[in-house]
Amino acid sequence: MSRLDIKHGIIEMGHGSGGRASATLIEELFIRHFDNSLLSQGNDQAAFNVPAGRMVISTDAHVITPLFFPGGDIGSLSVHGTINDVAMSGASPLYLAASFIIEEGFPLADLEAIVISMARASKAAGVPVVTGDTKVVERGKGDGVFITTTGIGIVPADVDISGDRARAGDLIIVSGSIGDHGIAILSSREGLEFGTAMESDSAALHTLVAAMVADVPGIRCLRDPTRGGLATTLNELARQSGVGMRIKETAIPVKAEVKGACELLGLDPLYIANEGKLVCIVAPEDAERLLTIMQKHPLAQNAAIIGTVCTDAQQMVVMATAFGGKRVVDWLAGEQLPRIC
C-alpha cells in the first residue's frame, strides 16, 4: 500500500472513494492518531457495553473560518464542542464519533495537524473517538474541511438538568469571562486582522460539570453560550422556562481586550461566542456553595453570579447597566457584524 505523502500531498477525490486510497488515509492518519482499540478494530461501527442509567446523545457540525486560530483549531473545537453539549445535561461523556467532509485539494499536512489536535483534545478529555467517516467533495464545494462529531454520555442517577427548569428566585452563574473565543476568531479573520494576545477559550467542560453535579445534583439548567453568546443563551433559557431574567453588567466578567475589540468594531460582548464557558441556573440556597466549587476548578476560577430569574410574562432578559440605567438584552437579529455606525 502506498504511503501518504503528508508533507506535500493533498486530498484527492480518491481519498473518499472507499478504495485503497481511503483505507490508507484512514489507517495512516485517523487510526494512527486517534489510537484506541475500538477504532483499530476497523469496523463501520463501535460496539461497547454501557453502564445502567440515562444516556444522552448530542451531535454538532463544525464549520469555522479560519480553520486554525489563536488557542485552537477546528479539530480541538469539534472535540470540545460535542463533549460540552453532552456534559450540559450533567452527563459524563463516554465516546465520540467523527465524520469529515474534506474539500479536494486540501493539504494533507493541514489535515494531519487537525487530526493530531483532535486526538490530543480527546485524549486529554479521556473521551476517545471510536468511529468515524470521511467523504471528499470536489474543489469549490467545501470550505477546506467540515467536521461533525457526535457524543454519548451517562447522566448520574439523581441529576435532572434541563433548560425548562429555571424558576423565579433562582440565581444565574457564568463560569468565566465572556467573548474570548469570538474575539480570537475575529482577530485572525481575513481583512479584519488585529493584534492581540487573546486566545480562544475552547475547552472541554465535563470535569467542571462533574465537580458541580457531584456537590449540587439539583442544578436546574446548564448551557454553554456558544454562537450568539451569553445573551442568546439567557434568552433561550428564559423562553424555555417561561421566566424573565435580570442581570447586572458589573457582575459579568469580560476581559479588557474583549471590551476593546468590541468598542473598536461596534460589537457587544454579550453576543460574542464562547467555547469554554457555561451558564448555570441554580436554586438560591445552593448558589454560594456551587460558586465556591466552581472557582476551585481551573476552568472556572472567575465564575460569578450575574443575576436572578424572575417572573415575567414577556420572558425578557433585562440588564442593569454599569452606568445605572436598564437595558433589554434581546435576541440577536441576524449576525453580529462589525459596524461603522
Partner: protein, 77 residues
C-alpha cells in the same frame, strides 16, 4: 452615527502614513492620512480604519473638571 473610539498611538510609520494603535491590548494599524500631526502617546479617534482627529487632553481634563464641579453643585443643592 459614525462609531469612533479613542485609542492610543503606539508607533508611527510615516512613510506609509499609518500608525499602530492600542485599545486595551487590541492593536490595529490605522491610516493617519487625515491628520496633520500625530505623535506616539497621542489618543486618536479611530473610525473605519482611519484616525479622524486627535483627542485634546487639556480639553478632556477641562470637561472632567466641569463634571466634578457640577457634581459638587448637585451635592449642595
Amino acid at each position: 452615527m459614525c462609531l469612533a473610539v479613542p485609542a492610543r498611538v503606539e508607533s508611527l510609520n510615516p512613510a506609509a502614513s499609518t500608525a499602530m494603535i492600542d485599545l486595551d491590548g487590541i492593536r490595529k494599524e490605522v491610516s493617519t492620512q487625515l491628520l496633520d500631526e500625530v505623535a506616539v502617546g497621542d489618543y486618536v479617534l479611530v473610525h473605519v480604519g482611519f484616525a479622524l482627529e486627535r483627542i485634546d487632553a487639556v480639553e478632556a481634563a477641562k470637561t472632567l473638571a466641569l463634571f466634578a464641579e457640577l457634581r459638587a453643585q448637585d451635592a449642595e443643592g
